[in-house]
Amino acid sequence: MYVAVKGGEAAIDNAHALLAHERRGPEDVAEIAPRQIETQLKLAVDRVMAEGSLYDPKLAALAIKQARGDLIEAIFLVRAYRTTLPRFGASEPLDTARMAIERRISATFKDLPGGQVLGPTFDYTHRLIDFLLEAGAELPLPAEVEAAHEATPRVTDLLDDEGLIERDVPDDMADVGDLTRAPLDFPADRDLRLQALARGDEGFLLALGYSTQRGYGRTHPFVGEIRFGAVTAEYVPEELGFAVPLGSVAVTECQMVNQFHGSADVPPQFTRGYGLVFGQSERKAMSMSLVDRALRTREFGEDVVAPAQDEEFVLSHCDNVQATGFVEHLKLPHYVDFQAELGLVRKMRAEHAARRQGTDSELKEAAE
């Protein structure tokens, strides 16, 4: 247990001034501008927006600068900032079918209507350090070809007529759970699980997703589709009564198609896991969809045999701000607590020694 301490004000002030100085670094190196972070370290910005659960690239870039590149610290800053703002309301659900596609791939359908485009990806690079980036070489312009502007339906809509893939059914009468307003309760419905996963730690979800692939709650996944691009966010203010386009939001969506499930009423069909994340983050969207599917265990009457299927375990530990808060609080002064433990262990040792002495003298007597 933590007991409050006082004192140390001067040391704390000086430590923070030292931090600011170290953050700036050597003065003969140009200071980094948030705009540079926003545009050139975009994927770090995307991660901070996703796990900070706040879409605002400028703010995320500033948080990364303030946090000296520590992304969990930046996420913490963004989470703290959001608590200072009033909430106007909730948007209409984003329509990812009308995304301005920047990347779209499928591992299951070679000839996807609307086509597969690689977009800006690390895939198929050789992962060799590029020393030209150090030298600041001039880049050729990207290639351009005629854009077809075809419709790009979600892959899961394609096999619809055969019913080979389970359908998600909209239920707009149902309340949408919000874990920022009410504490999580178990069992949690899928809306709450998806919200928790969308803001959950990428590393934690990656490891859990990986564990399902290695056999801890296997789901036999295929990437039905991954798409990244901009969608328009719409909000209906009460005073206007019509949908106001707020602007575009970049998101990554992953449709994971998993092995069959059927019942007496429903013939076998592929099941699905879903991932949706702010910004360009395929690893996170894929991990989220693997874990989403694993967490649907109850729904499909499967046994909970692995960590990724245990919703209380996953949802209680996927938030890195909560996790870092509890882990890092251990470094705060715990003097009172530790004093009590010291006292206890001394007493136990004294009792132990006394017992031992007693036994020794008994043994001695017996021997004599």
């Binding site: 706040l54 659900p93 301005a100 485009v117 977009g119 998600d168 719409e234 005073e239 949908a243 602007g247």
Partner: protein, 163 residues
Amino acid sequence: MTSSISHAVRPKTEGYLVLRRQALMALLAEATKDEICQILSDIGAGALAAAAVDLRRPESGLVMLRGRAGGDGRAFNLGEATVTRAAIRLPDGRTGFAYQLGRDSEKARISAILDALCQGDEHVAVERAARTVRQRVAAEAETKARRVAATKVDFFTMVRGED
């Protein structure tokens, strides 16, 4: 990105006017503050704009962005976005509103003024002045689409051996 609006217009609003306002709002959301100021100055509405009073002072807040499970299923809360809103009234009584991603109060307030103006005769001038921004946004989107199209991929499945 220009936006097409999926929503059925609610009966209490006049359909055509709503579509016009939505189209302008979509454009202003993509425009920079400088571009929006330029539109206001191009239509010579500086004096009118100066006389606008705040119905609600520009304010930054949050809108919870929702997604749907599987893209088309049950709605869930994806995460919030910063949104700035403004509401003004012109001396002639017209009111204008703005709700935009981000935290730029000045941009939101001028956008609200343009929303009010586009509900009257000035809408032709507003739309003409906005054409430059519309072209800039469309050209950027087209360049991006052409670059993305150049990464279109056709994978061929190799024929396996006689196994």
